[in-house]
């Protein structure tokens, strides 16, 4: 069991404003290779903070995060090396507006993986083809729709050939008619065996794609289980209340 654990989180705590706000109050979880873990919960429950701690965009206050056997909370660890293997997709896409789509995708592989321009572009074009955007390679982000932007953001992360993909509410900033195209890309990614941690409000996606669902509230994991366990037979009152509100 421990051999295929890719991320292991132990007693993670994150405080803001000198402890005034405790966003995470002791979270422990293991993410296994090839697993799709969906994190749900009300806003302010700490689920985004939890995700952002996984690649240290937020520095944990306490606790330990092990990625591929390395404790990345250790200050001696060069986090940049490990982040290369953890792709991240943001709610607001965060494409680089001053670069073309292709340049967005090739920048990091060329600078970090020392790929030649040709290799990086080949890889990028292949990925663009997979999300049906190969004809937008020379466009600037401002010329794209929200759904297109998010698909580009996903393949930009994939260009680094990550081991894990982290999704921080990837469809929350999208117009409703564009949610589907982004979720489709994510579903295909899951089918291809990518390890994914997804924070989302899309319960349909969670039910369909997740191997495991974590329900968070007030900085803790209240309940976890298979989608069927969580959605059809929730044990905790807080889970029931939340699902009643959103379903």
């Amino acid at each position: 069991m421990t051999t295929d654990v890719i991320i292991s989180v132990k007693d993670l705590e994150k405080h803001f404003n000198d402890g005034e706000l405790k966003a995470l109050r002791g979270v422990s979880a293991d993410i296994h290779k090839g697993e799709v873990v969906v994190v749900i919960g009300p806003s302010g429950s700490g689920k985004s903070t939890f995700l952002r701690c996984l690649n240290l965009l937020e520095l944990p206050t306490k606790g330990k995060i092990t990625f591929e056997g390395v404790d990345i909370t250790d200050p001696k660890v060069n986090i940049n090396v490990h982040r290369q293997k953890m792709g991240m997709v943001f709610q607001h896409f965060n494409l680089f507006p001053h670069m073309t789509v292709l340049r967005n995708m090739t920048l990091a592989p060329m600078k970090l993986l020392k790929k030649s321009k040709k290799d990086a572009e080949e890889k990028a074009m292949g990925l663009l083809k997979r999300v049906n955007l190969e004809n937008r390679a020379d466009a600037y982000p401002s010329q794209l729709s929200g759904g297109q932007k998010q698909r580009i953001a996903i393949v930009r992360a994939l260009c680094m050939e990550p081991e894990v993909m982290l999704f921080d509410e990837p469809t929350s900033a999208l117009d409703p008619e564009m949610v589907g195209e982004v979720l489709d890309v994510m579903k295909r990614l899951a089918k291809d065996g990518m390890t994914m941690v997804v924070v989302t409000h899309e319960m349909g996606f969670a039910r369909e794609v997740a191997d495991r669902v974590l329900f968070m509230d007030e900085g803790q994991i209240v309940e976890e289980g298979t989608p069927d366990e969580i959605f059809s037979h929730p044990q905790q009152q807080r889970t029931k209340d939340f699902l009643n509100k959103v379903l």
């Binding site: 520095l59 293997k85 991240m88 680089f96 507006p97 920048l107 600078k111 600037y140 680094m160």
Partner: protein, 264 residues
Amino acid sequence: MIFEQWWEAIQPALQSNTLNFWQTIYKEIYLNVIKEGRWLNYLQGLGKTLEVSVFAILVGLFLGTILAILRLPEIKDMNARGKGGLKQVGAAIVRFLSKIAGGYINLMRGTPLLLQVLLINFGVFGSIRIEKIIIGVIACGLNSAAYVAEIVRGGIMSVEKGQTEAGRSLGLSGFQTMMYIVLPQAAKSALPAMCNEFISLIKETSVLSYIALTELTKAGDYIRSRTFSAFTPYIVSGLLYLIVTLTLTTLIGKLERRLRNSDH
């Protein structure tokens, strides 16, 4: 030469003190611009003004960007992760440099440029033979850096935090993220204010006439001392300043439009 012929032509009127309006204007132009090749004095002055300005802008941009980065909140309150002794010392040094940068900006913005020029000319380089142009570049560059720093800092802070996070999440270092992602976007939003600063700098190089650098203002002043015309030499210098600053405004305006078209 046609100018000489015209000059001859107005001699009778000049002698009898009956110059009409156009003849008076021609007299002024002839004496202050054409006679003895005086236009060359202006052009040489303009050359020095441009030389000082260009290099001072470069010094200001380079130093100002470093100062701006030192003044960013992340740097100002830098804390070493963990308890490694060396890292703690490093963070303390960075915090100290940030304070120095803040003090420098306040000092340079809070005292007159003329005073700084005099201090550098007579104080710092008082006993060293050094070209006035170099003194001008150093003084104006150091001064401009303080203003550029605030402009660049504003530009950097106008770039969304998500851009930095996206860069870092791909594995880029803080420095790489700054160079490839944040600064190019910061430069774009800082461009109008930067244009202002360049124009100010070009005009303010005129204080270098105080240390006997024959730049454009000093050139006009020199002509006045030869011809005793109180208006014309200064107006000629002024027009040349205008040509330079308006050209710069137009060029930067074009650049702005080009940048706007390429992305949003």
